[in-house]
C-alpha cells in the first residue's frame, strides 16, 4: 500500500515538473500547418527534410506537414475554413484558389513572390495565382499532361505525331493489335482514365483544342455548341480503341496499361509516369526508345493543340494563426537548394517555377532529366507557347471570372455527359442538352448567372 502511495507521489511530481518545464516550451512554439498533395514517399521525405532544416533555423516554429490525397483535400479545406481553423498553407486546384480568392478567404503571397523575384518566375506560372496586382496562389511546381506512346510500335507501323483528331484516331486504329494471331486484341490503341477528375481535365483540353468554350462571359454554359458536339463525337470514336471497361480505370491503372503493355498510347499521361515506367516496365523498355511523347493534336474546329497544366498553387488562408511564419516557410521552401531537393523527387513532372533553377546545372544534372529529356521538351513547348491551362480553364480570364468551376468539376456533369454518349449510346446532341440544363441550374443556384 505504502509502495503504491509512493508511486503516485512520484508520478505526480513528474507530471508537475513536465508541466512547469515543458509547458512554456510547447506554448512558445508557433505551429504552422501545411497540407500538401505529394503523397509519394520520396516527396514526403524531401518535404520532411526541408521542414527539419527550417525548424533548425527557427527554433520557435514547428511545421506540421501533412500529405493528403486529392480526393480529401477540397472538402477538408472547406470544412476547416467553415470551422474557423484553416491551416496556414495548403495546395489546391487552381480553380479552388480562384473560388476561395473570390470569397476573400485567401491572404496575399506577394512577399514570397518578392523574395523569389517576380522576374525569376515563369510568366505562365504567374497567371495561375495572380488576381489584380496581388498573388493569392503560388504554384509549387508545374507539369503538363502528355500524349505518351509506344515509340517502338509506332515506328514499326510508320506512324507520325498526329496533328489532328483524325490522325490520332488513325494511329489508335493502327496500334490496336492482335499480337499473337488468336483473333483477340492484345494491345489497345489508347488508354484514358475514366474517373471524374480526369474526364473533366480531358473535356477542358479537348474543348480548347477544338476552339470551343465551356462558359461565356455571362457564365452561360456552351455545351450544345457545335464544337462540343464534335468533341463528344470524337470521344465516341476514341472508345473504339480503348480497353473494355476503360470507364472503371483510374489514372494509375492507365499507366499500368502502358507499362503492362496492354495499351499503345495514353492521352492523359504525366511526367510522373516516367518514374512508374522505370519502376514497373521491363528493364530494357524503361526509356524513351519505347515510351516517348507526342504533341497533342487539335480538333476539326481548332487551330492549336492544347493540354492541361497540373500546377497546384500554395494558398494561405485568412484566419490562420501564423501567416508571417508561413510566409517565412514558403520563402525557405523556394530557396534553390531546398526547392531542388523537392523538384528532384518527381523530376519529369515537377517543372521548377523559377527560371534560375530551370537553368541551373544542378537541375540539369538530375539523372532522370537527362534520360527523359524528350518528355520535358514537350512540356516546355506547351508552357512557353501558352498551350496549357489548368483544369476546365479555357482562357486565363476564366481563373478570376468563373469561380463556380470547382462545383462544375465536383458535380460530375461533364463526366455524366461523356458516359451517356460513350456507354449508353445517347446521341451527343441529347446528352449535351441534358448537361447544359444541369450546368445552367448549378450556375444559377450559385448565383453567377448573368444571362
Amino acid at each position: 500500500m505504502k509502495k503504491k502511495k509512493k508511486l503516485i507521489v512520484v508520478i505526480g511530481f513528474v507530471c508537475l515538473f513536465s508541466m512547469i518545464l515543458g509547458g512554456p516550451t510547447l506554448a512558445a512554439k508557433k505551429v504552422i500547418h501545411v497540407w500538401h498533395t505529394e503523397t509519394n514517399p520520396v516527396s514526403r521525405e524531401a518535404i520532411a527534410n526541408i521542414v527539419a532544416r527550417f525548424e533548425a533555423l527557427h527554433p520557435d516554429i514547428k511545421v506540421e506537414a501533412e500529405a493528403l490525397a486529392w480526393g480529401d483535400l477540397e472538402g477538408k479545406i472547406m470544412a476547416a475554413l467553415a470551422a474557423g481553423s484553416p491551416p496556414e498553407l495548403s495546395h489546391g486546384q487552381p480553380i479552388t484558389c480562384a473560388a476561395l480568392q473570390e470569397k476573400g478567404l485567401l491572404l496575399s503571397l506577394d512577399e514570397v513572390v518578392k523574395s523569389i523575384g517576380e522576374d525569376n518566375i515563369w510568366d505562365q506560372i504567374k497567371k495561375v495565382g495572380k488576381y489584380g496586382d496581388h498573388y493569392y496562389g503560388l504554384v509549387h511546381a508545374a507539369g503538363t499532361s502528355l500524349l505518351v506512346y509506344r515509340k517502338d510500335l509506332a515506328e514499326k507501323k510508320g506512324l507520325k505525331n498526329p496533328k489532328t483528331w483524325d490522325d490520332l484516331l488513325h494511329n489508335a486504329k493502327e496500334l490496336t493489335m492482335d499480337t499473337n494471331g488468336d483473333g483477340k486484341i492484345d494491345i489497345y490503341g489508347l488508354t484514358i482514365p475514366g474517373d471524374n477528375l480526369f474526364i473533366n481535365i480531358l473535356m477542358g483540353e479537348l474543348t480548347k483544342a477544338n476552339g470551343g468554350i465551356l462558359f461565356d462571359s455571362k457564365n452561360r454554359p456552351h455545351f450544345t455548341d457545335e464544337t462540343m458536339i464534335q468533341t463528344l463525337k470524337f470521344w465516341k470514336e476514341l472508345t473504339k480503341y480503348l480497353p473494355p471497361g476503360w470507364e472503371g480505370h483510374g489514372y494509375r491503372e492507365t499507366f499500368a496499361n502502358m507499362y503492362g503493355q496492354k495499351a499503345a498510347m495514353m492521352y492523359q499521361g504525366y511526367g510522373r509516369g516516367a518514374s512508374l515506367i522505370e519502376q514497373y516496365a521491363p528493364a530494357h523498355m524503361a526509356s524513351t526508345d519505347y515510351y516517348d511523347v507526342w504533341i497533342k493534336p487539335r480538333g476539326p474546329s481548332g487551330t492549336k493543340p492544347a493540354a492541361q497544366v497540373d500546377e497546384e498553387p500554395w494558398m494561405m488562408f485568412k484566419g490562420c494563426k501564423y501567416p508571417n511564419e508561413a510566409i517565412e516557410f514558403l520563402k525557405f521552401f523556394y530557396k534553390d537548394e531546398n526547392y531542388l531537393e523537392y523538384i528532384q523527387t518527381v523530376p519529369i513532372h515537377f517543372f521548377p517555377i523559377t527560371k534560375s533553377l530551370r537553368k541551373s546545372s544542378a537541375y540539369h544534372a538530375t539523372p532522370m532529366i537527362k534520360k527523359w529529356k524528350g518528355w520535358l521538351d514537350v512540356q516546355e513547348y506547351y508552357l512557353d507557347n501558352d498551350l496549357v491551362k489548368p483544369t476546365l480553364v479555357i482562357d486565363w480570364e476564366d481563373m478570376a471570372g468563373k469561380p463556380y468551376l470547382m462545383e462544375i468539376l465536383g458535380s460530375g456533369i461533364l463526366k455524366d455527359m461523356v458516359m451517356e454518349v460513350t456507354k449508353e449510346g445517347v446521341p451527343p446532341e441529347k446528352a449535351a442538352a441534358k448537361a447544359q440544363k444541369r450546368a445552367e441550374e448549378l450556375v444559377k443556384d450559385k448565383g453567377y448567372a448573368k444571362w
Binding site: 470544412a79 474517373d195 472503371g248 463526366k415
Partner: protein
C-alpha cells in the same frame, strides 16, 4: 427533503434523455430544418426556400435513378446475404473437424476495414490484370476478360463485394439461434420420416423466423443507407454513375456541389422511405400476438 419516486425516476433518466436529444433528435430535426433552405455546405450563404428542394428532387431524373440503383442494390444484397448467410450457418452448425477454425474464417470479411477490402477487390476485379478474370479465363468459364468495374458489371461487382463483406453478420445471428433449437424437434421430425430438406423447411426455418425478422430489418436499413462500400469502389469514377445510390447522391450534393440544403433533403427522403418501408414490413410479417 425527499423526492417523490416519480421525480427520482425523471432525474435518473434525464441524462439519457439529454444525450438522446442532443445526439439523435437535434441532428435529425436540424437536417429537416436544413432541407428547407438553399444553403452552401461550408459558407454562411443560406435562403429559406420552403419545400422547393423536395419539389426539385421529385422532378429530377438523377434522383429517381438513385432511388432505383439504391433499391436494386439493397434488395439484391439483402436477399443474397440471407441466402448465403443461412447456408453458411447450416454448414458450420454441423460437427466436423476444423469447425471452429472455419467459424473464425467466416468472420474475416466482417472485420476487415472496408477501405482495405475495397482496394483488394478492385485489384482482384481489374479487367486487365485481375486474378478473377485470370482464373475464369484459365478454367474456360469466360472467353474474354470481363470488365467488372465497367458500366455493365459494376453493380454486380458491388453486390458481390457487399454480400461477401456483410453475410457474416447473418451467419452469426442465425448460428446463435440454431444452437438453441431443441434437438428433440429434429428427433421428432426424423421419427416422422422427414429428410434433411423437410427438416430445414418445417423445423429450422420456423425456428429462425424471429431472428430472420430482425436480421432482415437491420440489414435493410444498413444496406439502404450504405455509403462507404459504394463510394470507395469508384470514388466518383466513370462507372460511379451506375451505382449512384441515394446516400452517394446525398454526399455528392453536399460535398461536391456544396448544396447542403439539397443534401439534407435527400437524407430526409431516405429517412421517410425507411420509416414507411419499416412500417409496411412490420405490418406484413409481424404477427399481432408477437408484438
Amino acid at each position: 427533503m425527499r423526492l417523490s419516486s416519480q421525480k427520482t425516476g425523471m432525474l435518473l433518466i434525464a441524462p439519457a434523455i439529454i444525450l438522446i436529444c442532443s445526439l439523435l433528435v437535434y441532428p435529425v430535426l436540424y437536417g429537416v430544418w436544413l432541407s428547407l433552405f438553399k444553403k452552401h455546405s461550408f459558407f454562411p450563404d443560406q435562403r429559406f426556400v420552403g419545400l422547393a428542394n423536395y419539389f426539385y428532387l421529385l422532378k429530377n431524373s438523377d434522383f429517381w435513378m438513385s432511388v432505383w440503383y439504391g433499391t436494386v442494390y439493397s434488395v439484391s444484397t439483402i436477399v443474397l446475404q440471407i441466402v448465403v448467410g443461412v447456408i453458411a450457418a447450416l454448414i458450420v452448425n454441423e460437427a466436423f473437424r476444423g469447425r471452429n477454425f472455419v467459424r473464425g474464417v467466416i468472420l474475416f470479411p466482417y472485420v476487415i476495414p472496408t477501405v482495405v477490402a475495397i482496394i483488394l477487390w478492385k485489384w482482384l476485379l481489374n479487367n486487365q490484370f485481375g486474378l478473377v478474370n485470370y482464373l475464369m479465363l484459365s478454367v474456360g468459364i469466360i472467353e474474354d476478360p470481363v470488365s467488372w468495374m465497367g458500366k455493365d458489371h459494376i453493380m454486380t461487382s458491388l453486390i458481390i463485394i457487399s454480400v461477401w463483406e456483410f453475410f457474416p453478420f447473418v451467419v452469426l445471428s442465425v448460428l446463435a439461434r440454431m444452437q438453441t433449437i431443441p434437438p428433440t424437434l429434429y428427433e421428432a421430425a426424423q421419427v416422422d420420416g422427414a429428410g434433411p430438406i423437410r427438416r430445414f423447411f418445417h423445423v429450422t426455418l420456423p425456428q429462425l423466423r424471429n431472428v430472420l425478422f430482425v436480421v432482415i430489418l437491420l440489414r435493410s436499413i444498413w444496406m439502404f443507407t450504405k455509403f462507404d462500400t459504394v463510394w470507395l469502389l469508384t470514388q466518383g469514377g466513370g462507372a460511379e454513375k451506375y451505382i449512384r445510390t441515394l446516400p452517394v447522391y446525398a454526399y455528392m450534393r453536399t460535398f461536391m456541389y456544396y448544396q447542403a440544403g439539397l443534401g439534407s433533403t435527400l437524407a430526409v427522403i431516405m429517412f421517410i422511405i425507411l420509416i414507411i418501408s419499416t412500417a409496411i414490413y412490420f405490418k406484413m410479417f409481424r404477427r399481432e400476438e408477437e408484438i
